[in-house]
Amino acid sequence: MEVTEKKAVKSIAIIGNPNVGKSSIFNQLTGLNQKIGNYPGMTVDKMLGYFSLGNKHFELIDLPGTYSLYPKSEDEIIAHKVLNGIGMEKPDAALVVLDACNLERSLLLGTQVMDLGIPLAFVVNMKDLAEKRGLSIQTYALYQELGVPLVMTDARNNEGMEAVRDLLSNDDFSIGKPFGELDFADLLEEVRLKYGFRTHYQAFQELIFAAYDPLADPDKKDWLAEKAGAYQFDSEAEQARETSRRYAKIKDILRSTQSSASGEPKKLHARLDRLFMHPVWGYVTFLAIMLLIFQAIFAWAEGPMNLIDGAFAAMSGWVAETLPPGVLTDLLSEGIITGIGGVVIFIPQIALLFGFLAFLEDTGYFSRVVFLMDRIMRPFGLHGKSIVPLISGMACAIPGIMATRNISNTRERLITILVTPWMSCSARLPVYIILIGLTVPDETWIGVNLQALALLAMYLIGTLFTLLGAFALKFVLKSRERSFLLTELPIYRMPRWQTVLLTMFNKSKIFVLEAGKVILAISIVLWVLASYGPSGEMENLEAEKATALESVSEDQKHELAAEYASRELEASYIGILGKAIEPAIRPLGYDWKIGIALLTSFAAREVFVATVATIYSVGEDVEDELTIREKLDKQVHADTGEKVFTRATGFSLMVFYALAMQCMSTVAVVYRETKTWKWPVLQTIGMTIVAYLGALITYQIWS
């Protein structure tokens, strides 16, 4: 018996040029019901959205924005594979978003998708702008020419979205008339038959794409290359020829279906460009905007971060008190809850930074920044688009690295990812503040506070190494990809709050769900190492502490507890490790106590302060910076009686923290963005070596 089962969920791919409002439409249809997944072997995220109309359920696949279906980056390879169902299930239909002001250009992609033989519909977006420019489009005539239904929308203002929903629920997709004309009919027929494609155009695309697809079967690649050779099929020349023919035909059709007007961008935009792209004021404005953003991040992120910190500390305390004491309770309260807290604490910074970035991106401002910065970044092997990740890195490397997505050149993107952690992030600040307070006098020198000067120097060191590192990597990482800049400067638009909020939400979600796993795992390992020691030594100390505590008065209890905390940390595995690495870090001016702090602060740089407070038994009140400073100032080496935190040691430590990775969250994010462990591991090793040498030189100079 034959069962014709109707698929419960209809899957629809949505594709269009960049800046065409594709994500507006995606967001309008799916709202918060979005999921981020992976394409196997690719770094680009798979964006899925779900919604229902009546009793019909839809899955929307948001394909990356592209100008055509030719292999240039992962974006196009993904579009090709999804639309042709290569290595994944083919969607039931495609929704192609066209730009009402740029029909000619958007129809290049539109008709290419049409020729793949997939049922589709066109959404002509930004009709408001076209109307303002005096363009009018005869949709019915266009429908007759192309054989594909068209809907006019202004997605930003939610206009025409009902028509899109009707189209979806009535299943008004249709397979258009074959549009492009192709030579090599025999070759294409052979390819079509061999791989079971529907149309010659699909065969044509597969011939072009297979060489670029990292996951394509090698036998298939060989066979296609051989066939192409036999028929003297030159991939690049054919792409150019096909594009010209397509454009010519599109032009013909548009002549009768669109009445054009000037099409020039408006005066207001030109005036804004005069400021934002000015050789002087452009840079000044950019700096001012960035400064404003940082100001806002520092001002607004601190409150929520403190709240999260407090909430997790309270939760950890509550679990420790409520559950019966034991290993599991400790693991839950100190390992897992604290670990999750360490992930969640980043959300305010990530969400805020991405909120601002999405805002600026959506207005069209960022492409102007790329225009201004490209020349400055190029000598360092970076791209104009690297500037946003690098500057974000001054707040936190994590959103910075997550913002490298739109650098299309793989090498430039990788270099940006590898050097961004050298930008001086906000987690280094507490370390610098403690150490500067210890080692730099609070005096003024020609009107400048020396401590402020030292802090500025640390920021400059970070920036310097970022650029030098990029410069060095330029020679190490070779690429056959040509670096180029070919970007549209879209007209300025008011940002859409929905897009901004969704970006904030999605980026935070990606971080928590994907990087969070790695961070949690590392923090549990670090916790175990710091809380347990070999064969019963911890238990002995605990017992000793309990008896000692009974015999002292109330006032001395704090001090004694602090002392035992220090001794327990010393007896733990991490304490043993800290002692083991002492010979290696002695030349940097550190003792084993600092060694322990170096190890624990791999979790995050600011942990250094807490560990140092514990190991030097400062006591419970680590919030009190002055107490820590005073206590640390008194520390002397046990063997020589010399001060531990001399200027040389302090400077050496600051240089170490400026240059070392010392942030497991960054490691996790680099893994997630490069989809391989190779880069985060090499990066961590490289940064640690540079930090070691830097600290060594610093110590030797100042001691």
Binding site: S68, Y70, K72, A240, Y247, M277, F371, L486
Partner: protein, 73 residues
């Protein structure tokens, strides 16, 4: 003459694009023979150039602009 040598305030027409791996990329963004092109501004220190090409503003580096051949209208 190529677009890299364009001066401001004059509108030219694109005559052709030099064959290169970037040719298809340019074409798909609407940089095609027959389109009008004029220079809007240049970034400092021989940085990218911004062109108005048939109503759209595109930024290109000088090397890329050099691939676009232009002629007087």
């Amino acid at each position: 003459m190529t677009a890299a040598g364009l001066d401001k305030e004059h509108t030219y027409e694109i005559a052709g694009i030099t064959t290169s791996p970037l040719m298809v990329r340019m074409m798909e963004m609407g940089v095609m023979p027959g389109k009008t092109i004029s220079l809007l501004r240049k970034a400092p220190f021989k940085g990218p150039m911004a062109f108005l090409i048939q109503g759209n503003v595109l930024a290109l580096r000088i090397e890329e602009a050099d691939l676009i051949q232009i002629k007087e209208v």
